[in-house]
Amino acid sequence: YSTFPHSPTWKKEDVTYRILNYTPDMLQADVEEAIARAFQLWSSVTPLRFTRVYGGQADIMISFAAGFHGDFYSFDGPGGTLAHAYPPGSGIGGDAHFDEDENWTKFTTYSGYNLFLVAAHELGHSLGLSHSNVFGALMYPIYMAVDTRNYQLHQDDIDGIQALYGPPKESDAPPTKAFPPQEPTEMVPAEAPTPMSPREEPTEMTPSRPPQRPDDCDPHLTFDAITTLRGETLFFKGSYVWRKSPYFSEIEHDTISSFWPSLISGFDAAYEVDKRDRVLFFKDDQYWAVSGYRIDSGFPKPIQNLGFPSSVRKIDAAVHDQSTKRTYFFVGNKYWSFNENTQSMERGYPRKIAADFQGIGHPIDAALQKNGYFYFFHGSSQYEVDIKRKKLIRIMKSNSWFNC
């Protein structure tokens, strides 16, 4: 991370903001929510509290504009520069400007820029952070289209903002509530309780504490997907990754966005074709291919490209058998066999899982091949199967790989 020269910061914990105008690309309520969520990202890791005001001068003035808009940095039309913001200070200090020539969206799509993501980045500047060269950090200068449903700040962002403001106070800062609009409104002092008419219930912010990663040795731990990758094993759940490497005894804890910032999280399945140095990720009826950190171009693709009938809308698990060059896809109580050499589904499938994998009589969450055995994960249990002898060897806890 980096800060601006002389590391300017707000010399108070209560910072105000005002939305001066709106983009016609989104509902006003969606703009307000995106901005509020962006502030909440930063308030959840610092002692700062953000209060929205509806008139007069606020510390952080937020506006949309195109081309020349009164400061020295004119916008450049669609693409290129999306927005900019100024470090803490009086006047224009802290203000954030968004290029109205962009298409602003509430969700992460390929046809526009996610306002929450860009606003969270720009507000990082409004608080005193400059750019980070850590790929996957929010303060990285280039826009990364990531899934924002349970977006987490990268550790680099947290280190940076806490270097400026420290961690949150012990007692959880109450979530910032938007004060109801009053005309004309001067800044409402935080201690002046404002009578809320029933329709103006305080708008609760998104939860003040981001969802936590489950403990490694939580006996109820389950996984969405598991794959090998260049000799390591990656376990996925939501946006979290547990990384087990033969080279280190410790389990490394990461997020999907720290490896592949533009990939969605919450995979359904994943598998590696080791001979091609390729890992495929599946979510609903789409799949992506990566090689190391690089996402292959032309993805996502529909899973029907692999030969699934249109009735299949998602897969539960997938595993590649390096010895036979077959990949097994598990859907409900059935499975398909895909020939990686001919790149086509084998004839005679789908077949019932129970018919060929002894002891596996239920849908599978995730599958893995390691040391010649197959491991099938169902809830918090894991089934070790000897494929050749079609024999169930033993049943373990799903997180037995984490040295619990």
Partner: protein
């Protein structure tokens, strides 16, 4: 194939503007020493490549140009 001269000139202009915006590149408009400007720009290209973890060739290759064309924040990456 060799890059068409016209496109190469365009790319160079684009890169110059990018480096001025984000890497504090200042072209000396009246400098008699064209070579000096060029080496200054090479240094700035190298600085940008270093920031983004690209191979630090100092040349305006396709990867570097592609990175410059990504949608981004308007705040400089490097400032005096």
């Amino acid at each position: 194939f060799p890059v068409a001269p016209e496109k190469e000139k365009e790319d160079m202009q684009f890169a110059k503007k990018y480096l001025e915006n984000f890497y504090d590149f200042k072209e000396e408009k009246h400098s008699l020493f064209k070579a000096k400007n060029l080496s200054h720009m090479t240094d700035k290209i190298r600085e940008m490549q270093s920031f983004f973890g690209l191979e630090m060739t100092g040349e305006l290759n396709q990867k570097t140009l592609d990175m410059m064309k990504q949608p981004r924040c308007g705040i400089p990456d490097v400032r005096s």
